[in-house]
C-alpha cells in the first residue's frame, strides 16, 4: 500500500509516494538522497539516524515515512554549511569531538533538540539526552565539552537577538 505525503524537509516542501513500510530513514537516504543520517542498527539502538521531527529528536529507523504527512523534518544537511556552520558544528571541530564521524550527524541533531528545549543543560541532563546515541570512537568526553561550548555560544546569540 502506498501513501502520498507532503512533508517539509529542511524547509523545503517534498511531495512523494511512499510504501507503508518505508521508514523515515529510508525516505531520507533512498528517496531524497540525504545521506547524512546513517543506518547503524536499523532497530533504534544506536542513534546514528537521529533527525528532528517537528523539533523533537527521533530515530529515523523507527519512524514510518507515511506518518510524516503535514510534518516537518530537520536533518544535518539543513543545519549549516562551509562558511556558515551552526555553533554545534563549529564546537565539534574545535573540541575534536569527531573521529570516524558516523555517529556525528545523529549526535549533533540530538544535541540540537536538547538545547532548543533546555539551553543550559547540566552535565547529567546532557549525558542522559545523549544516552541513545552510541559513539565507539570518542569516549564522549570531547562531545560533551563541545555541546556545552556550543550551548554557551547559542545562549549568547539568543541574548543578542532578544536585546
Amino acid at each position: 500500500m502506498r501513501h502520498t505525503i507532503t512533508v517539509r524537509v529542511n524547509g523545503v516542501e517534498e511531495r512523494h509516494e511512499v510504501d507503508a513500510n518505508q521508514t523515515l530513514l529510508s525516505f531520507l537516504r533512498d528517496t531524497l538522497n540525504l545521506t547524512g543520517a546513517k543506518q547503524g542498527c536499523n532497530e533504534g539502538e544506536c542513534g546514528s539516524c537521529m533527525v528532528l521531527l517537528d523539533g523533537k529528536a527521533v530515530n529515523g529507523c523507527l519512524t514510518l515515512a507515511a506518518e510524516l504527512d503535514g510534518h516537518e523534518v530537520a536533518t544535518i544537511e539543513g543545519l549549516g554549511q562551509a562558511g556558515a556552520l551552526h555553533p554545534l558544528q563549529s564546537a565539534f571541530l574545535k573540541h575534536h569531538a569527531v573521529q570516524c564521524g558516523f555517529c556525528t550527524p545523529g549526535v549533533v541533531m540530538t544535541s540540537l533538540a536538547l538545547l532548543q528545549e533546555n539551553p543550559k543543560p547540566t552535565e547529567l541532563q546532557l549525558k542522559t539526552a545523549l544516552a541513545g546515541n552510541l559513539c565507539r570512537c570518542t569516549g564522549y568526553r570531547q562531545i560533551l565539552d563541545a555541546i556545552q561550548d556550543a550551548a554557551k555560544t547559542m545562549r549568547a546569540q539568543s541574548k543578542r537577538r532578544t536585546a
Binding site: T35, G40, C137, G139
Partner: protein, 819 residues
C-alpha cells in the same frame, strides 16, 4: 629536538568539516545505478557437514539475479593462513558461516530467496571451549589443517585444533623458579567481544564485461584487500581496483579481508551489475569477526628481594572457526607475553585453538588487553601477597633501558619509559601517598605495552604533488578511520615545508589504481609509518624546489631556505614564490626550467628480524614499543555491585605528541572502550548449540555517555623514538589495553574481591561481595589479602604437560600471611 610550529598543536581535523556537515560519504551512502542487494545464507549449526546446497527454488523468486555457493567458488582466503573458503563447501565451522549468497533487485527479494535455499547438514560435535578443543582426541575443526597455505612465521599443528603456537623460552625458567622464595599461580579468562563499529561492514563490487573488478568497501586496508582478492580469484592486480570511501570506525574488525570476496563472487555471477553486501547489526556481532577469547594461566616466582625471577605464561586463545587473521594475535601475544615487565627467566606458550565459535581477528590492542588483564592482576596479587605497595612492586620489576624483553631484546633509552608513566599516574592519583581509605572506595593501577604486529616488510608510501596554485596534495592509502591520520600527515608536511595547514589537501580515500601502496591501517603504525614517509617526501620536494629556485635566484642551494611559501636567498633576501616554481619556472625571457614538482616516498621498518623458531629469542622482533599506565579510582555500591569510576588517569610515553586534541580523543576513546570490555561487554555464545545469545545492541551493551568515568585525565611522556617522525610512536590501540585490569585492581583495593573473568559485571561483584560476607560471618580468614586466591603449585594440568620437565622440587610455599 628543534621547536615545532604545527606538529604539537591542536589543529582541527582536516576531514572535520565534511563530517560535521554530513557531507562525508561512507560506502553505504554511495549510489550505483542498477545496484543489486545481497543476502547471505549462513549456517545455523556450530559444526556440521554440508551434504547438499539446493538453490533452484531461490532462483525462481522474482528479482533474483545471481546466486553463489561454495562449489562455484572453491577458493581460499585469509591473510596469514588460507584456511577459509568464501562459502563453506563441505563443512560449516560456526553459527554464521556463509554457505551461499544471493543478489536481487531489492533487499526484500534477496531476503525472500535466501529463505528458500535448502541446505542439508549433518551436525558434528562442536568445540565450544578452548580447553576442550586442545584435549587429545578432540573433534577436529580443520581436518585439512596440514594442506593450507601458511605464512612462514605461523606454526599450526596438523592433526590437532592448534592453529598457531608460539613458544618463548628465555633463561632457565625451571632453575630460577626452584630458587624463588614465593610462587603464585592464577588463571584469568576473557570472553569473545565484538568491535561494534558504528558503521557495520559493507562492500559493493562490480565486475564489468571486460573482467575488471571494482570494489568499494569499508575496510582498513585497500591494498591488502586487493592482494587477497587477487589471490583468491586468481586475478592480476591490475584487474582489481579497491576503493575505500570514508570509514565509520574499524578497531581492527575491518583489517584484512571481510565481506569483499562474497561481493565479488556475486558480482561475477551478475556481470555489469554492482552488488552490495551489507552486514546487519546482528551479523556484525557473530558473522563478521570478533576479538578472541583468552584463558591465561600465569606462574610467578619471586625472590627474597621482591624481584620476579621466573615467569610462566600459558595463553590459550579461542580463535573461533577460522584463524586467518587471529593466528597473528596469538603470535603477538607470545612475543609480548611478559607485558611491561623484565622477567629474567621466562617460559611462555601462546596457543591458538580452533573452536566452533565466531571468527577471531584483530581488535584494537591485538591481544594485549587480554594478556594485560591477566598479567596486571597477577602483579597486583603478588604485590598484595608480599605486602608490597603495587606501585613499588611494578617499579621494581618493570621494563626500561638496559632491561630485556621476553625475547631477549635489550631496550634502550629511546625505547620508552613505563616507569615514568607509572610515576605520573601515582603522582596524580596519589596511589602511594593516599590518606585514610573510605569503605568501598578504591584505587588501582595497571601498565600497558604493545608493539606493532606486522610483517617485517610492512610498508607505507605517499605521493606528494603541488597543484598549479601551490596547494600541496598528499595521497595516502593509510585509512583515516577516525584516528586523525590525514590531519597528522598534513601537520608533518606543514611543519617540514613551512606551509600553513590550509595550503595542504590530504587525499585520504584511496583507489588502488591511483594511490600509493600501503600495507594496512593497523598496529598503531600509521602516524609512524606514513608520518615518516611524508617527512621523507618533503625532503625531496624541497630538493626539487631548491634546484629550480637556485637557478631562478642565481644563488647556490646552500644559501636557500623555504619559508612563508617562498624560496628565499638567505644572503640577498631575494625570493621566488612557490607558485612560480611548482609547475616549472619561467624566466623573464620566456624560457622555462623545472616542471611539476611531485614525489613519492615510503617507509619500511628498519632491521626487523625473525624470531628463533623454538625460543622466540630475537634482538629486534618489532619496530617499536609504546609503554603506558592507567590508574582508576572508583566506588562500589554494595547494594547493587555497580561500580562508579570517579577518575581514570592515563599516561603514555608517545615519543612526541603530534596533535594534543587528537591524542586526547584517542586516549579517552580507548579508555571508554576499555571500560566497555572491562565491565559490560561479552558476546555470549550458547555452550550447547554455539548460537549467539546477545547479537543486538539491545542485549550487547557498549558504553553510552552515562557510562564514562566522571573524570578522565591524560598525560604523555615524550621520550623520542629514534626512527619515529619527529620522535613519535604509536598510541591508538594502547589506550584501551590496561583499563579492565586497572578497574579490577581498584575493585580489590575497594572491597577485597577479585574478579578473574572479564567483564566485571555488577552481578559478579555482588556475588563476590556476598561470598566474602558469608565467609566473614563464618569467621574464616578474611584479611584483605586472603581474598586473593594465589595458589601454590601444582600448575594447571595443561601447563604441566607442556612444561613436563619442571618438577616442583625446591619450590616453597608462599610466605605465610601472619606477621
Amino acid at each position: 629536538m628543534s621547536q615545532t610550529k604545527i606538529v604539537g598543536t591542536s589543529v582541527p581535523r582536516v576531514d572535520g568539516l565534511e563530517k560535521v556537515t554530513g557531507a562525508a560519504l561512507y560506502t553505504g551512502d554511495l549510489k550505483f545505478p542498477r545496484m543489486l542487494y545481497a543476502e547471505v545464507v549462513r549456517s545455523p549449526h556450530a559444526h556440521a557437514k554440508v551434504l547438499a546446497v539446493r538453490v533452484d527454488k531461490a532462483l525462481k523468486v522474482p528479482g533474483v539475479r545471481a546466486v553463489a555457493t561454495g562449489r562455484d567458488f572453491p577458493f581460499h582466503t585469509g591473510i596469514y593462513m588460507r584456511d577459509q573458503t568464501i562459502f563453506a563447501i563441505d563443512r560449516v565451522r560456526f553459527v554464521g558461516d556463509p554457505v551461499a549468497a544471493l543478489a536481487a533487485e531489492t533487499p526484500e527479494a534477496a531476503h525472500e530467496a535466501a529463505q528458500l535455499v535448502e541446505v542439508d547438514y549433518e551436525p558434528l560435535p562442536a568445540i565450544l571451549d578452548v580447553v576442550e578443543g586442545i584435549k587429545p582426541g578432540a573433534p577436529l575443526v580443520h581436518p585439512d589443517l596440514g594442506k593450507y597455505y601458511v605464512e612462514s612465521f605461523i606454526t599450526p599443528k596438523p592433526g590437532t585444533n592448534i592453529c598457531n603456537h608460539l613458544k618463548v623460552r628465555k633463561g632457565d625458567y625451571e632453575g630460577a623458579l626452584a630458587k624463588c622464595a614465593h610462587v603464585f599461580e592464577n588463571t584469568f579468562t576473557v570472553p569473545q567481544v565484538q568491535h561494534v563499529p558504528m558503521e557495520p561492514h559493507i562492500s559493493v563490487a562490480r565486475v564489468d564485461l571486460s573482467g575488471k573488478v571494482e570494489v568499494h568497501t569499508s575496510a582498513q586496508s585497500p591494498f591488502t584487500v586487493r592482494h587477497l582478492l587477487c589471490h583468491c580469484f586468481n586475478l592480476p592486480h591490475g584487474d582489481v581496483e579497491v576503493v575505500v570511501p570514508t570509514v565509520g570506525g574499524g578497531f581492527g574488525g575491518k583489517a584484512g579481508i571481510n565481506l569483499e570476496p562474497i561481493a565479488v563472487a556475486l558480482a561475477m555471477k551478475a556481470p555489469g551489475r554492482p552488488v552490495r553486501v551489507a552486514a546487519t547489526r546482528a551479523e556484525e556481532f557473530y558473522a563478521t569477526v570478533v576479538r578472541q577469547g583468552l584463558t591465561a594461566t600465569l606462574v610467578t616466582g619471586v625472590d627474597k628481594k621482591n624481584k620476579v625471577q621466573a615467569q610462566k605464561m600459558y595463553y590459550l586463545w579461542d580463535c573461533g572457526g577460522y584463524g586467518g587473521y587471529g593466528v597473528n594475535v596469538v603470535r603477538a601475544a607470545g612475543y609480548t607475553c611478559g607485558g611491561a615487565y623484565h622477567f629474567p627467566n621466562v617460559w611462555g606458550d601462546s596457543i591458538g585453538v580452533y573452536t566452533n565459535k565466531p571468527v577471531g581477528s584483530a581488535y584494537r590492542g591485538f591481544g594485549m588487553q587480554e594478556i594485560h588483564w591477566a598479567l596486571e592482576q597477577q602483579m597486583d596479587r603478588v604485590a598484595h601477597e608480599l605486602r608490597i605497595d603495587p606501585v613499588e612492586f611494578r617499579l621494581l620489576n618493570c621494563l626500561g633501558p638496559k632491561k630485556t624483553t621476553v625475547t631477549g631484546q635489550l631496550l634502550e633509552k629511546s625505547s620508552g619509559r613505563v616507569d615514568k608513566c607509572i610515576e605520573k599516574v601515582d603522582e596524580v592519583l596519589k596511589l602511594r601517598a593516599r590518606g585514610k581509605k573510605k569503605p568501598f572506595h578504591g584505587k588501582g593501577i595497571a601498565c600497558a605495552v604493545k608493539a606493532p604486529a606486522m610483517p617485517n616488510n610492512a610498508a607505507s608510501s605517499v605521493i606528494m604533488k603541488f597543484a598549479e596554485d601551490e596547494m600541496l596534495e598528499i595521497l595516502i592509502s593509510g585509512i583515516d578511520i577516525g584516528q586523525g591520520l590525514a590531519t597528522v600527515a598534513a601537520q608533518y608536511a606543514a611543519e617540514a615545508l613551512d606551509l600553513p595547514m590550509e595550503r595542504i589537501r590530504v587525499r585520504m580515500r584511496p583507489r588502488t589504481d591511483f594511490s600509493p601502496y600501503d600495507w594496512q591501517t593497523v598496529a598503531s603504525r600509521q602516524t609512524w609509518a606514513t608520518g615518516n614517509a611524508v617527512l621523507r617526501g618533503c625532503e625531496d620536494l624541497k630538493r626539487q624546489l631548491f634546484e629550480v629556485g637556485a637557478q631562478a635566484l642565481g644563488a647556490p642551494v646552500s644559501r636557500l631556505e623555504l619559508k612563508d611559501r617562498k624560496v628565499i636567498d638567505k644572503k640577498t633576501k631575494k625570493s621566488v614564490p612557490l607558485a612560480a616554481i611548482v609547475v616549472g619556472y619561467q624566466f623573464p625571457d620566456g624560457h622555462t626550467i623545472g616542471g611539476p614538482v611531485a614525489t613519492s616516498a615510503h617507509h619500511v621498518p628498519d632491521g626487523l628480524l625473525f624470531l628463533h623458531p623454538e625460543t622466540s629469542q630475537c634482538s629486534k622482533p618489532v619496530a617499536k614499543w609504546t609503554f603506558g599506565a592507567q590508574g582508576v579510582e572508583l566506588t562500589v555500591d554494595p547494594e547493587t555491585g555497580n561500580l562508579r569510576i570517579e577518575r581514570l588517569v592515563a599516561c603514555y610515553d608517545v615519543g612526541k605528541v603530534v596533535n594534543p586534541g587528537l591524542i586526547k580523543g584517542q586516549t579517552f576513546g580507548g579508555i571508554v572502550q576499555g571500560v566497555g570490555t572491562g565491565v559490560m561487554e561479552e558476546l555470549v555464545i550458547d555452550g550447547k548449540d554455539g548460537r549467539p545469545r546477545n547479537a543486538s545492541l539491545m542485549d550487547y551493551k557498549i558504553p553510552t555517555a552515562l557510562d564514562i568515568p566522571d573524570k578522565m585525565e591524560a598525560f604523555y611522556v615524550e621520550t623520542p623514538q629514534l626512527d619515529g617522525p619527529l620522535g613519535a610512536r604509536g598510541i591508538g590501540e594502547h589506550t584501551m589495553i590496561p583499563t579492565p585490569a586497572a578497574i579490577a585492581n581498584a575493585l580489590y583495593d575497594a572491597c577485597g574481591i577479585r574478579i578473574d573473568s572479564m567483564p566485571i559485571t555488577a552481578e559478579k561483584v555482588l556475588k563476590a561481595l556476598k561470598e566474602k560476607q558469608r565467609r566473614e560471618k563464618e569467621g574464616e580468614d578474611v584479611q584483605p589479602a586472603a581474598a586473593s586466591v594465589a595458589k601454590v603449585r601444582p600448575p594447571a594440568r595443561a601447563t604441566r604437560r607442556e612444561a613436563g620437565r619442571e618438577r616442583p622440587g625446591g619450590v616453597r610455599a608462599r610466605r605465610g600471611r601472619a606477621k
